[in-house]
């Protein structure tokens, strides 16, 4: 009887295990190796350590694999207790949510993949509860993955509450977690590389977002982590062309949910044209708007395009509007998690942020402002996501979204038009 703790894992061994392990790097041709963990190819000419020792540069963050190592994919045994009613969630789904939830259950039954195209704030997580319950009852192993840590940490407590009796854990690269065997796993896509043919159901949230989008390594990670019969449920508010093409070719079943759970419209962004100004300063129009927000005590998020900008603008506001309590967050900020958690609890009036908070996070009653919305870093998908941070609760569904920029570009135009279209659909 194999240890269930290792079930479904891909283990790295220094010595081969007869009939079970495979070499970590295998030869494609005389100049190239293939990494068996991440399925990426390795140029021998570049990635060597000494004579005849080569390593994979693509999955280094999980520990370096060399051609002297071996991998063992431990078979998944699904050693989970039988449960008759694992879902303890008391809430109710709207009719629209109900329809999607039932379609998902059907997809799970038939081991099919499915895409849910649901606008920001439509209650995607709740819609998953039924299909999760169904799979848990069948003792299936389930992974809920997202490309970013923030989305995972947001998802985890909600699932923990809804399925109080089910073993669950959160796994990501930014904290020391001891791995243990659980039926539900919430993790970043990167972590899936540590599993092989482990999951019956995999839910991929924000499937169009960075870093998953256009990343071959992470796509392979998903493909390898699921069993050969499986259900992958893709969730997105802004599906990329990759999925739209699959839908077009009838290769992927999908549902559209264009209403928020409270049934109100998505806030439509307003565009404000500003004159060109010194890079590190904000235009007068925007500053007076911020002053206004200070007096009305409306809390807000100010999105900027780069990490450096976030820090500089935060400093600038400190000087210009000292009565405004604010700070900055970005992906490289070590205190990011604390700052976001504090903001959610109602501390501080504003956050100056990069696109790191563009998706997957929910704050109550927040206005959204984007400075330099014409920056290349904001494509129409990220602008739609950013706009979706506002008006997420039913009492405050009319939060304002404003784009400030020196030019009006295609991304801004597309974002505004798409939001209007979804509102009228």
């Amino acid at each position: 009887m194999q240890n269930k703790e290792l079930s479904g894992r891909l283990l790295v061994l220094r010595q081969p295990l007869v009939n079970r392990s495979v070499p970590a790097l295998t030869e494609i041709d005389e100049n190239t190796l293939l990494c068996q963990r991440c399925q990426m190819s390795i140029a021998k000419k570049i990635y060597y350590l000494g004579s005849n020792t080569f390593y994979c540069p693509h999955c280094l963050f999980l520990g370096r694999l060399t051609n002297k190592d071996y991998l063992w994919a431990v078979p998944e045994i699904n050693a989970f207790p039988k449960q008759s009613a694992p879902l303890v969630w008391q809430g109710k789904l709207t009719t629209q949510q109900q329809i999607v939830a039932q379609k998902l259950c059907l997809a799970e039954q038939n081991n099919q993949d499915y895409l849910v195209w649901a606008v920001t704030g439509s209650g995607k997580t709740e819609m998953l509860f039924l299909v999760l319950e169904q799979a848990i009852k069948k003792q299936k192993r389930i992974a809920l993955v997202a490309p970013r840590v923030d989305v995972c940490t947001e998802l985890y407590p909600r699932l923990q509450q809804a399925f109080a009796q089910v073993s669950i854990q959160l796994l990501h690269g930014q904290g020391a977690h001891d791995y243990h065997y659980t039926q539900l796993l919430v993790c970043t896509v990167h972590q899936l590389l540590k599993f092989r043919q482990a999951f019956d159901v995999l839910i991929l949230d924000e499937c169009d977002s960075y870093p998953y989008a256009n990343n071959v390594l992470l796509h392979r990670a998903v493909e390898q982590a699921v069993k050969s019969t499986h259900t992958i449920i893709y969730l997105s508010a802004t599906p990329s062309s990759e999925y739209q093409q699959l839908i077009h070719k009838n290769k992927l079943a999908y549902s559209i949910l264009n209403r928020r759970f409270h049934g109100k419209d998505l806030p439509v962004p307003h565009f404000y044209l500003c004159s060109k100004k010194n890079k590190h300063q904000l235009p007068v129009k925007l500053v007076s708007r911020l002053q206004n927000l200070v007096t009305t005590k409306q809390r807000f998020l100010l999105f900027v395009d780069r990490i450096l900008q976030a820090e500089q603008i935060s400093q600038f506001l400190q000087k210009k509007l000292p009565q405004l309590e604010q700070t900055f967050v970005h992906s490289k900020d070590p205190k990011r998690q604390q700052k976001v958690a504090a903001f959610r609890k109602g501390q501080r009036q504003a956050l100056v942020t990069t696109t790191v908070l563009e998706r997957g996070v929910t704050f109550k009653n927040i206005d959204v402002i984007v400075w330099q919305a014409d920056s290349q870093r904001f494509d129409s998908q990220s602008l739609i996501q950013i706009a979706g941070r506002a008006g997420r609760s039913s009492e405050f569904s009319d939060n304002k979204v404003s784009f400030y920029a020196t030019t009006y570009n295609k991304a801004i135009d597309q974002a505004i038009k798409t939001i209007k279209k979804l509102n009228h659909a």
């Binding site: 570049i46 350590l49 000494g50 540069p57």
Partner: protein, 227 residues
């Protein structure tokens, strides 16, 4: 052939000056793209005259303390400031062990080292680290550019220098030993010590002590990638 950035794998588009287009000055093949390069802060002239710490003129508080302890004839030069990006770089290079990243700063290090005569001695990494990484990070950075002499032997220490705080680092006792089979080096006019990172100066000054104890009386200089 196209060059790719060793840090982000994007294709490098060289930004040529007029002189380079006309073929008057040579095009240098960088191993880093412009965007990655911008993340690093290259130290200019505005730095401590002794150790190269940024924005501390003419001499930083660290060096003042060292000088009070009698170290007043050494001089260090570093290429970049140890900032967030440099921290990431070393994480990928040393902790994850991505040996290919040694090439990132080669062009700049080569320029910096032009002013230094041979011999060069490097600060070796511990046996344990060497076994784990299967390469010496300092040799990786400098080995392709200059002849490095392995004249220092690192004696085993309990805790790596990188895992200590400032006070602990400064209190570290001597852990280097001069290998006497290289006694011939001691007749040189100048010896240059190279290391990957200069933090408190403790390691480099241990190396300094080592050389003096071995009887070297010439000029001692040191270089590192980060400060």
């Amino acid at each position: 052939m196209r060059n790719y950035c060793v840090l982000c794998q994007e294709a490098i588009v060289p930004q040529l000056t007029m002189l380079q287009i006309l073929g008057i000055s040579k095009v240098q093949n960088s191993s880093m793209c412009c965007r990655c390069r911008q993340e690093f802060y290259f130290i200019g002239d505005k730095c401590c005259q002794v150790c190269g710490k940024m924005d501390m003129q003419p001499i930083c508080s660290d060096c003042e303390k060292w000088q009070q302890q009698g170290y007043n004839d050494y001089k260090h030069q570093a290429l970049c400031v140890y900032n967030e990006s440099m921290h990431d770089y070393f994480k990928r290079y040393k902790r994850y062990g991505d040996f290919s990243l040694r090439k990132a700063f080669q062009m700049d290090l080569r320029k910096m080292l032009v002013d230094y005569p041979e011999p060069f001695i490097f600060i070796p990494s511990s046996q344990e680290h060497l076994q784990q990484r299967q390469f010496d990070p300092t040799v990786g950075l400098f080995g392709d550019l200059i002849n490095l002499t392995p004249a220092f032997i690192k004696m085993p220490t309990k805790v790596a220098q990188a895992q200590k705080n400032r006070q602990q680092r400064l209190a570290t006792p001597q852990f280097l030993q001069f290998d006497h089979q290289y006694n011939a080096l001691l007749t040189a006019k100048q010896i240059t010590i190279v290391d990957d990172i200069y933090t408190t100066g403790r390691t480099i000054l241990h190396a300094y002590d080592c050389l003096r104890a071995a009887g070297f009386t010439g000029v001692i200089r040191s270089c590192s990638l980060a400060r």
